[in-house]
């Protein structure tokens, strides 16, 4: 019999009514035993009345739709999500941060100037159940790669340092995050991009083409008087610009509203930029516990 069904309420009302009637009928009968029947009858009637009212309220509000729910049984157990091993895990040695050349299958489509470098943070190998956010550094060929790799080794994120060519498009590079997910234990969201001024437009287009992937953008400018581009990635992406400190007497131009202005030059600019970007990312986290996902027709659940 259903906890919220009419039959149970009907039975409860009948039993309550009968109990009240029986208590009334027995009230002055059976001599000294009547005290016992009175007490038992009153308590039973009161309990059944409360129970019946509770059933009606529960039917209306559906707090406990089933006996299982009433017993606290949810029929569901949270489970630890299955972590995936990165394909390059076997290439990482030691406990420190490591930089490795990365040659995924889709590399040629990206039309890069040089082979990308993946940097895994200190402790990556030891923390096998942990997934990491990623910082994508878009550098100018032959200039900033080494500084970007050095900076990447200082933070607790996975990093990939990429030198695009003039032929690199955001549409082609949009496959990079998923490729990295397969090879390294990275999160599928909460990434950040650090880009030089020349790569800024590509970075903005890449963020727009994969809106749920990136949460922060840092632009590394060469000049203290550089005016940051007003073309922002949109959404709620956090934006910062790193510029050298202006010389005495020179005032740096303002930055667009909502943009963080940071100071640094040379390799220090990359350290500042990558550290700020990493700070905007989620922390490295062990595989979460999850509930079973559900299929929703029009919405697209990202993950359970």
């Amino acid at each position: 019999m259903s906890l919220t069904g009419v039959p149970l309420i009907v039975v409860a009302v009948l039993v309550t009514t009968l109990t009240i009637a029986a208590t009334w009928w027995l009230w002055s009968r059976y001599g000294r035993w009547r005290l016992v029947s009175r007490v038992v009858g009153v308590l039973l009637a009161e309990t059944l009345t409360v129970f019946t009212v509770g059933l009606v309220v529960n039917r209306v509000e559906q707090f406990y739709p089933s006996w299982q729910a009433l017993a606290g049984n949810t029929g569901t157990t949270v489970v630890a999500a299955a972590g995936h091993a990165g394909r390059i895990d076997g290439m990482v040695h030691g406990h420190g941060a490591a930089a490795l050349p990365w040659r995924p299958a889709s590399l040629s489509a990206w039309r890069l100037v040089a082979t990308p470098v993946v940097v895994v943070p200190s402790g990556y190998l030891a923390r096998r159940s942990v997934t990491f956010p990623a910082v994508l550094s878009l550098v100018d060929a032959g200039r900033d790669g080494a500084a970007a790799v050095r900076a990447a080794k200082r933070v607790a994120t996975v990093s990939v340092v990429v030198a695009p060519s003039a032929g690199t498009t955001a549409a082609a590079l949009a496959t990079l995050p998923a490729s990295l997910d397969e090879d390294v234990r990275t999160m599928t969201h909460g990434w950040a991009i650090v880009a030089t001024a020349r790569q800024a437009a590509l970075a903005v287009r890449l963020i727009r083409s994969t809106p749920s992937r990136f949460g922060a953008l840092v632009l590394v400018e060469d000049s203290a008087t550089a005016r940051p581009p007003h073309d922002r990635p949109g959404g709620e992406v956090a934006v910062a610009v790193v510029r050298p400190a202006p010389r005495h007497g020179i005032k740096a131009p303002g930055v667009p509203p909502g943009t963080a202005a940071l100071t640094g030059s040379g390799s220090r600019a990359w350290t500042t930029a990558v550290e700020w970007a990493a700070g905007e990312c989620p922390p490295p986290l062990a595989a979460p516990v999850q509930l079973p996902p559900t299929y929703v027709a029009a919405g697209k659940p990202r993950r359970p």
Binding site: V50, P65, G75, T76, L291
Partner: protein, 346 residues
Amino acid sequence: MTLDGTGIVVLGAVAVAGTAVLLAVLWDRVGPLSRAGIAAGSVLSVAMTAGLQLNRMTEAYPSWDTLPGVHAAGASEPRSPTVAAITPLPAKSGGSTVLSVRVAGKASGLTLPMYVYLPPGYDRDPRERFPVLEAAHGYPGSPRTWFRRLDAQSYLDREIAAGRMAPTVVLFPYQTPKQLLDTECTNLANGPQAETFLTEDVPAYARAYLRVRTDRAGWGLIGYSAGGYCATNLLLRHPGQYAAAASLSGFDQPGIKVGDGTENTANNDSWRLTHLPQPAVALYLAWAADDTPTRRASLRLARLARAPLAVTTAVLAHGGHSDAAWQEMEAPAFDWLSDNLARPAG
């Protein structure tokens, strides 16, 4: 004796039994007026005991001085009409701390108590700034429900210790100055400005007195039942302030009259997703499959969601609209929130 404890319910049950015995024994010895008095006492004791048990289940009135007209002795701070005090929670062994504070809201004009969960290691590095969650309770309910009925401190301690959640400061504010006035975290026309309190005054307090991140990437919301609606609604209405929210058995509309008709428009989340641009935020919707109202509301929201709004869904096989269901949802929701918020910044 606490107002929300088992002891007072047992005492109520004893009173029920006592009045039943009195009724049985004195019925033949007293006049009609006394009989009526004892019978009324009997009914009253049953009603009061049922009420006390309901209060124990919802924590609507967690302590004596939250009752209307009762004031704590020695209190000197200005107090709200009925939400007068917040009872300190006993220490737990997980290394975390729960503070009882009072938020004097300049923007809303509300002064309300709040619990603050400080994660293990909060005092380790004075430069560290933590991500923050605001946790909304259901109706009827109070911030204490999170601790007494949903064991939030233990779940937070466990998820943080397991590395599935970053150390996070969690704020448990009141959403109303009167326990039985349901604000649904909105600014009621000619009533309490709960939304302003929760989105301006509470964050201002946290920034002033706690080591927390101040950017939106570090702020999230969570709530169960009516609090689930609060979490979703405040996230959609303030995307520049919060990055993610988790709604546990939440609704898509307030179910009250806000007073300006916005329960059908700007405070109706299905309406918002249909008629307004969707913000770039992350929303977690969990419900029990047999909880029909919140299942329908959550499915409506999930089906209306479009990029850049990212929706994640999770379902219990059953469990209804109950503490057991929310307890099952807590750990996955906390993990998901941490996964969608920025890390502690040092």
